[in-house]
Amino acid sequence: MVLKIFFPQCCNRADSGLLVGRWVSGHDSAVVLAVIHYPFIPGQVKQYIQQLQAQSGVELSVLGSWSLPKEGQEGLESFIRDLSTIFPQEPWLQISRQVGKTGFTCEVLGRDQIGKAAQQEEEEDEEKVIFVHYEQMKVMLSQLHPIESQNPDNRSEPPSELRQMFQTVARSELLFFLDRYDDGPLKSTHWQSEGREASIIVELLKRASVPLCVFISWLLSVWTWFCNIRIFSVFPLSFLSSKLSTCVQLNYRTEHLRTLSSPRAAEGHMEFMRKANILVSVLVDVALGVLLMSWLYRDENISTLAHTLVPAADHVARQLEELLQWLMGAPAGLKMNRALDQVLGRFFLYHIHLWISYIHLMAPFIEGILWYGGLSACLGLTFALSLLSDMVALFTFHIYCFYVYGARLYCLKIYGLSSLWRLFRGKKWNVLRQRVDSCSYDLDQLFIGTLLFTVLLFLLPTTALYYLVFTLLRLVVVLFQGVLHLIVDFINSFPLFSVGLWVCRSYRLAEGVKFRVLCDEPGTALHLLMEMNPLRFGSVLQTYRTATYSCYPKDSWGALVRKLFIGELVFPWRHKTTKTD
């Protein structure tokens, strides 16, 4: 049998005393948390330990005794041995260390062995003891991944030994309040004895955060009341607001701020990390937005931008007109039906003419729009980008219209052709059985069907070409919008705080532990040093990524190509609704 004792490194040089800690049930190991020094009154120690147990929920107990004999303390050895009678504990550990030597010696006394000599145990296997040294502060602050759910009822098997050890140290924070420099009845040594860490700025922020949270939640409630006014749930407005990415981003950030401004503190590691990530993300967003604003409003950049916008739109329209003229001729030597070509080309040219007039009408207002729109960047870079995406969508609305017309025409044609091709062969689509069956048609059906089939077949190249051209244009616009959304999504979801923690204090995110041998001499117990194995970068991103309404492709490549071939309208990006934990 091997007994593992987790021993804090801060207690290596502690004065003699009692070991306080916890036996990990079922695993034959003990976690030492602190050493309580002489002088003490056993009754007070028991009372203290019971009080701590009630408050923290950890099953603390006195594990044994620790002796580091210094000059003038020789009589303590027998005193220590008598202590085992006062604290009835199942195995009683007696750990001692000589100044100058690296190894510890440990004797384990069971309850029935107290008072007997140890040499009666030599016939049986001696209990092997392994000392695992750990750094208490790091283990207390660290979180073991993968994180288990908080609900103890959901766990199917009891947590592993390592997890229990980490939890024990993390939950025993109350033990670490009294240290040996206090004037209380008990003096103990633990990691805080080296010197308690505190920072004035952190304390001030903590004090100031409460009224700030109250204020922000009041603002949010006003905003929510405003958004829920009945007039906004009328059909066109609610539909628009679900499509405009600015509104979506607004809702999303409102949710975040609501999470941040809730008055109760974060329970559990995941909630704390989430709040921290959201806060850092909002701050970085606003900082980037202010940077953008400072560039935009300086040196007349806005008017320059406005003055290049209208000529750019004109240029795009002229290019489109040229394209249509090319299509109305004989593009790439393809066999176009002249009459249909002329009809479609003139129809689209008229649309472009309408759109150009609209742009020229809006020309004087563009600068004002840009100026006020740029103000939205103070809310964050994501808002500016969402606004840009929406404006692009608005300005390329005519391309979207052309695409829809072309796609509908093409889809109708393909559908008619496939149905009439079946008629050509004398077959029919059986809707009930979802298969193609033979069918005997009447003479008039055959006649008209064949005529229509011929007409549709010969008009196919013309329609297909228009459809192809407008689909490509639409896909270019969609791609650009997709890139903007990707950037917004990245800023929204990247867990900057977690990554910063991983860089600076990597022990706080631990994937596991690694052991280093400190002292392995025969005759003494094995001493190992336990160090944290930090989490990999990929796991950090995956675990702490903020859930967003991210856009990702709705269809696989094969399905997308098939939809384009048939002429079904494609909306390549789909918004995922925000997951709620």
């Binding site: 176009m336 039906n337 048609y441 003479l443 008039d444 006649f447 005529l451």
Partner: protein
Amino acid sequence: MGADGAPSQSVPWRKVLWERQPFPDNYVDQRFLEELRRNEGIRQYRYWAVVKEAGFVGQQLSCVAVFITLWLYMEQGLLAPEVLLWTSLSCAMLGYGLHQALTSQAESGCETRTHLADLQSAALFLSFTFGFSPVLKTLTESVSTDTVYAMSAVMLLAHLVSFPYGKPSPPGSLSLNAALFASVCLASRLPGALHTFAMLTCALLVFALWPCLLQRLRENAPCQFTGVCVGVCVGGVGGLASQSLGGAVLFSLALVSVTLLCPLLLIWLQRHKDNIQGPWDEAEIHEDLSNFLH
């Protein structure tokens, strides 16, 4: 007779599966294959009967030839579209009258189509074709001539191959559609919309309505049927001859080979026929519903 040199025993061999016999498993006796029947359902063809049936195929070939001739005339401007139109309409009337006369001799109560329904169909055809003829005319404008000719040729071939020679009256979908497709392709090459309309009416007549009349003739007046076939063949050859002599020669060669040579080949190859039937064939179920009808 035995296999693997098995000795003939005093116990005779029985063709049963369940009994252990002293013979090897692949033993056969002298009654082997006595139930084999050769060429049971073979028919004896007579040359002239087959030629008469093959005449129908030749007739259909000639129909296609007549149609192509008419198109050639229209394209060269030798035939005015109005002439063709009125001729087609009057032929249609004549054919309809003939069809009704032949029908009333045979079953009179089985046909459910009234004259009104026929008139409706005719009106539908004509109006649809007339309405679409400007569109149809511009369909193959940008397609090259060779492609149009190749497509028409393939489609007419498909029409001939898939024609229901056994029972032409409900027209087969693929054959009729292929013929109409070819006629639309050819008709769109003509100079005017009226030409297209006339051509399509003619195509409808030749490919859709003529086989119905032929079916009636074949049922009710077989001798006249043969005469009509011969007449159509002669007309086809003559029409082609007026346009190109080489084409006519080729066409008559084709006719002769289909009508006269192929039956000869069929009868000559009968001697190599070797069908075997026996008790190993799949069972055919002859439904006898007389038990249920009483």
